[in-house]
């Protein structure tokens, strides 16, 4: 069994997809990392906002998902430290429920301070605003993948498309979760679904064993879709491990954005995000890496990343909406007071829907 999680390196990057550049849409992926102040716990997380016309704030939703995961793991850090397997499984189930609730709370707060407005739906089919107004969580729809490294276990979480891979010391690269046969044609399960708690998958995996786990990869689906064959995708894990044996992790992180650009431009066209959680002693030959916890380099070229320096508070989320107005949100008391825009929205949807029906 490996020692404490102290020293696990987490690195990653996210790039805006080639097709998103062509369409003028933002990078809807997000990722983040966190370490407890004593180095016992480490976490990597990625999220992929859906990007269909109903998910018009999914680039925010994915960041909120990363933040929700961080908050929940941070709050439970004392319990995670010494958890037995059965306790860890209970905690994982509990974490799923907490993450879903926390994400919904964060979304509700965002809606409250930045209400949906008609201009966000410009050019969209009338059915979409109606669906989003009836269920505004849809606007923020996102997947979520995370790994928490504890002294004894990897605790792995997955909701929606995207891949969690474990690379063993023998070079084997295996997906953590079985393929979900339902998810073809870019369809995915999501935090915004009413069934998201049931759809969430998790696994508690003991560290060490006959073949030691050296690397955990968290990838949004833009990565796997970039490869002609599935084996080529799994080779990504094997090749990265070999690279980590031979090169400084800092150098690999420097190369990562360009590789991701290649994945998108020559492959999927989608946003691509990759987070690597790397076993501590792979960097042993890395004198120039200055053996520093700061190996979790702040990814300056990766605008969608959230990096929490140990116990520090998270980066603030971007402000990019219209100012708050007073009024009834229609979302219940805990949503506070927002917005004349909300009722404007209803009126606009009703009017447009009626006009559309008359045209037909």
């Amino acid at each position: 069994m490996s020692g404490e999680s102290d020293g696990w390196q987490i690195l990653g990057a996210s790039v805006r997809g080639a097709s998103h550049r062509r369409k003028g849409t933002p990078n809807e992926d997000a990722w983040g990392m966190w370490r407890s102040d004593d180095g016992v716990l480490a976490m990597g997380v990625v999220a992929d906002g859906h990007g269909d016309s109903q998910s018009l704030r999914s680039h925010v939703g994915s960041r909120l998902a990363v933040e929700a995961m961080r908050q929940v793991v941070r709050e439970q850090r004392e319990i995670w430290r010494g958890a037995s397997r059965s306790r860890a499984e209970q905690l994982a189930q509990r974490s799923v429920e907490m993450v879903v609730r926390r994400w919904r709370t964060l979304v509700a707060r965002d809606l409250m301070s930045n209400p949906l407005s008609p201009h966000e739906f410009d050019g969209e089919d009338v059915e979409h605003p109606a669906k989003v107004v009836l269920d505004p969580m849809r606007a923020y729809g996102t997947t979520l993948l995370a790994v928490v490294v504890t002294p004894r276990y990897f605790v792995l979480f997955g909701l929606g498309d995207g891949d969690l891979l474990i690379v063993g010391g023998d070079g084997s690269c295996e997906p953590v979760f079985a393929e979900d046969e339902r998810l073809v044609a870019n369809e995915t399960t999501s935090l915004c679904m009413s069934t998201s708690i049931d759809e969430f998958r998790f696994q508690v995996l003991e560290r060490g064993g006959a073949i030691r786990q050296e690397l955990v990869l968290l990838c949004t689906d833009g990565v796997s879709n970039a490869f002609r064959h599935l084996n080529g995708f799994y080779r990504l894990g094997t090749d990265l491990l070999e690279d980590l044996y031979n090169r400084c992790a800092r150098d690999i992180e420097r190369d990562l954005p360009q590789w991701l650009e290649d994945f998108s431009h020559q492959g999927s066209g989608d946003d691509v995000t990759l987070c690597m959680v790397v076993a501590p002693d792979l960097r042993a030959t890395d004198e120039e890496a200055s053996v520093n916890e700061d190996i979790c380099v702040r990814p300056e070229r990766s605008l969608n990343s959230t990096h929490w320096d140990q116990e520090t508070e998270p980066c603030s989320l971007p402000a990019r909406h219209t100012p708050v107005q007073s009024g009834d949100s229609g979302l219940g008391d805990d949503m506070g007071s927002s917005t004349g825009l909300w009722s404007d929205m209803w009126e606009w949807v009703s009017r447009t829907w009626k006009n559309s029906k008359e045209r037909r």
């Binding site: 097709s19 369809e187 002609r228 084996n231 290649d262």
Partner: protein, 230 residues
């Protein structure tokens, strides 16, 4: 810069399949000639759309059906090198058998999960003379068959619109009416350009059991105002 990790990169395959009626009734009033000509004229426009969407690898093929069904163009051919061999008419309208042929290609083992939703365009001027329901069921039993963008063009007034509507499987997407060669040209061009464009760069969305065409938003079809010939 280190060597890029992982295997070969590639655009995502997008399979486009014409399913064309070439029963003997298609010989009347120049329908088959108009169909051959319309598809041939649409090809350069398809190529343009494909060129504008380099992350989709558009692969075209065709099934024809009369007294039986067969692959008219069997290999999934890059749109850049695709050529349309003229269809010849004979016999009846084995539409169900044609759908079973297509269904075989809609299995996950055949069409990889990373593919974009396939586009199936059914063109017919008559009524099926075999078990259409069984063929449609075979298609819908396959993951990609269910999620395919399914469009239909009714050629002439005798086309069975109910059957074509069942194939489409979406109440708000009716079969396109082609009662004139010009209308046929317009509809085929729309299917092979506007729809192709929409399928080429879809975004992910929530999984639902009955969603037709995955997450693809079908653009409005053109209105064609010409006098009926067929």
């Amino acid at each position: 810069m280190g060597r890029r990790p992982g295997g070969e990169l590639a655009a995502r395959p997008l399979h486009f399949i014409w399913i064309a009626d070439c029963s003997s009734s298609m010989a009347s009033d120049g329908k088959i000639q108009a169909l051959n000509q319309a598809i041939r004229e649409a090809l350069p426009h398809m190529k343009d759309v494909a060129a504008d969407n380099p992350n989709a690898e558009v692969l075209v093929r065709a099934v024809s059906f009369s007294s039986g069904a067969r692959w008219h163009v069997a290999d999934a051919t890059s749109v850049d090198s695709f050529q349309w061999p003229d269809l010849q008419t004979s016999g009846y309208t084995a539409m169900g058998e044609a759908l079973r042929l297509v269904a075989d290609q809609m299995k996950l083992e055949v069409m990889s999960k990373r593919a974009l939703p396939p586009v199936l365009v059914l063109l017919s001027d008559g009524q099926p003379t075999d078990d259409f329901g069984a063929g449609l069921q075979a298609l819908m039993n396959e993951p990609w068959g269910k999620k395919a963008v399914r469009l239909a063009i009714a050629i002439g007034s005798d086309a069975d619109r109910q059957v074509l509507q069942r194939f489409i499987g979406h109440p708000e997407i009716p079969p396109l009416e082609a009662n004139h060669p010009e209308a046929l040209v317009q509809h085929i061009r729309w299917a092979s350009t506007a729809v192709l464009q929409s399928v080429s760069s879809p975004a992910s969305r929530l999984a639902t059991a009955s969603q037709v065409g995955g997450n693809v938003v079908i653009p409005d079809s053109p209105s064609v105002e010409v006098d009926d010939v067929w």
